[in-house]
């Protein structure tokens, strides 16, 4: 009951941002995909690959993923941006509004309060960007609509972007919970998350991407837990 009350509060506080992000991604995706399903196969590939009528098509080009490439680029920056916003909302704003004291004196253990925030952030990212992305994938993989449906790899890459949003969220939390000065160690959490995100985005090997994402999440999660449980408010 306490956890649910805390979770509801955190979700409600983030709701405008979650809706905005989810709808924006959906809008961008549908704007891109919407016109495509009206084309014939040839017109479609002309449209997506810049081919001219009569041009010989290399069969390998047909295997290139393309349908979700543009929405994917949007997701690649939107997920970290949403992670940053949620991190600020959950851990930074209470410092400015001075509501930590009120919140922490509720009859709930500190880990419960923290888990409510982390669950709200994860659920928020999953329900807004994750749901929109999964819907776009479902829309793009229907053979009756698109000649060559989008591969499952596109779905996975989107979910990795969403996991990177969580990386930035935790980095923001670590920085917000630090009591050091900005120009000293306080920036480390956010800087580490940003560098790790850029590095992971530069990789191609899916195994490495997943491994490093999990590792980064584990490091930042342990730092967030340690900082939150021990911090003075």
């Amino acid at each position: 009951m306490r956890f649910l009350a805390l979770l509801r509060k955190e979700l409600r506080e983030s709701l405008p941002w979650l809706l905005l992000a989810g709808l924006l991604l959906l809008g961008v995706g549908l704007l891109r995909l919407g016109p495509l399903n009206r084309f014939s196969t040839v017109e479609y590939w002309q449209y997506t690959n810049g081919l001219t009528p009569g041009e010989t098509v290399d069969p390998h080009r047909l295997l290139r993923p393309g349908l979700l490439r543009w929405p994917g680029l949007w997701l690649a920056w939107m997920a970290p941006a949403l992670g940053l916003i949620l991190g600020v909302r959950h851990f930074w704003m209470p410092l400015f509004t001075r509501t930590w004291s009120f919140l922490l004196h509720r009859s709930a253990a500190r880990p419960t309060i923290l888990w409510a925030k982390l669950t709200a952030a994860t659920a928020g990212l999953v329900l807004s960007l994750g749901a929109s992305w999964t819907f776009l994938y479902w829309y793009a993989r229907r053979p009756e609509v698109f000649p060559i449906p989008e591969s499952a790899k596109a779905l996975a890459s989107g979910w990795i972007y969403i996991a990177l949003g969580l990386v930035i969220y935790l980095g923001t939390a670590v920085s917000a919970l630090s009591t050091a000065r900005w120009y000293t160690t306080r920036i480390f959490g956010l800087a580490f998350a940003a560098v790790a995100t850029l590095f992971i985005l530069s990789l191609w090997n899916l195994t490495w991407i997943i491994t490093l994402t999990i590792l980064t999440l584990a490091i930042l999660l342990s730092q967030t837990i340690a900082a939150f449980l021990d911090r003075e408010f």
């Binding site: 306490r2 649910l4 009350a5 506080e13 509004t97 004291s101 004196h105 709930a108 003075e232 408010f233």
Partner: protein, 308 residues
């Protein structure tokens, strides 16, 4: 002796090399209404936050309802009401949403009727959002939220700060409502000494991080006294009397603030010092507090040059 519900032992907090609170020893028995007094920066908020486990002591410890403050369990927190300084609540919530949020943490204790009555008494509507409330109204909501679970111990950090006289009166009446419930203990810090005088039966005074007084209000009122002694010729610049806090002298007068000095001792001193007479000056609690916590070398803010 009645049960101790709030206890600190050598409670100390340093920020860097600066002491915010220095070896505070307190024992507040059940049923006390304790005014926690001190000037700005005296260490009141720091002490309260350490009592509630929101700050870590540099040394010493605190215990509320027998539980170490560093490890207050949710079950113990449930029995403690806390009104934060500035009444910081979630601005986006309406009073009704805040009530629902708060109720979730006190499933068995929450008194719906009491909360509703208090909101009605304060002439507020549950539909109002916190961000649209004035500072005074936020204070009222804050008090109602803290009282509705019927806490055994209520801790309030300067709850009447910034409130006008009418709202303060309402707030205090709300507080008295709690006090009338048997066995409740209240610790509240305040700068409004008239409020303290009205409701408190005990005062704790901290000054620059150190405990200066912990006694009943009557004892404090009786202990801090001001005496003006008149001399036939020039008044001495100093007085040798135990319990002297400050003295100011003008040409033929010596004004002294004394603590724990009896009538007989004052009479003896006056005779020895050659005073031709003396009188005790009536002081209210605010005057007593200001004299009691004034620095030893305190000077007037403006010192006008006397014009011959």
């Amino acid at each position: 002796m009645s049960e101790i519900v709030l206890e600190t032992k050598d409670l100390t907090k340093y920020y860097g090399a600066t002491p915010a609170l220095d070896h505070l020893d307190l024992q507040i028995p059940r049923g006390s209404i304790c005014g926690f007094l001190g000037r700005n920066g005296a260490g009141k908020t720091t002490a309260i936050k350490m009592m509630l486990g929101l700050l870590h002591p540099t040394a010493g410890s605190a215990a509320l309802l027998g539980c170490d403050s560093a490890a207050l369990t949710p079950a113990v927190r449930q029995r403690i009401g806390y009104v934060t300084e500035g009444h910081r609540l979630f601005r986006w919530m309406s009073i009704a949403k805040l009530e629902r949020f708060q109720r979730a943490f006190f499933p068995e204790q929450w008194d719906d009727r009491f909360f509703g009555d208090m909101i009605e008494y304060f002439e507020l509507s549950k539909k109002q959002k916190i961000k649209h409330l004035s500072n005074g109204q936020r204070a009222q909501v804050s008090l109602a939220l803290a009282l509705a679970p019927n806490p055994e111990l209520l801790i309030m950090d300067d709850p009447t700060l910034g409130l006008d006289a009418a709202i303060r009166r309402q707030f205090l009446e709300g507080m008295i409502e709690l006090i009338t419930r048997q066995g409740r203990t209240v610790l509240f810090s305040s700068h409004i000494l008239a409020d303290v005088e009205r409701v408190a039966d005990r005062v704790v005074v901290v000054d620059r991080g150190r405990l200066r007084a912990d006694c009943s209000l009557e004892t404090f009122r009786a202990s801090v006294r001001k005496v003006i002694a008149k001399f036939p010729n020039t008044a001495p610049s100093e007085a040798q009397i135990e319990g002297l806090l400050h003295c100011r002298h003008s040409e033929r007068q010596l004004e002294m603030t004394l603590v724990d000095v009896g009538d007989a001792e004052v009479a003896d001193w006056a005779r020895q010092a050659g005073a031709e007479g003396y009188e005790f000056i009536e002081m209210n609690l605010e005057d007593q507090f200001i004299e009691f916590t004034a620095p030893p070398n305190h000077r007037r803010l403006f010192q006008w040059e006397e014009v011959e």
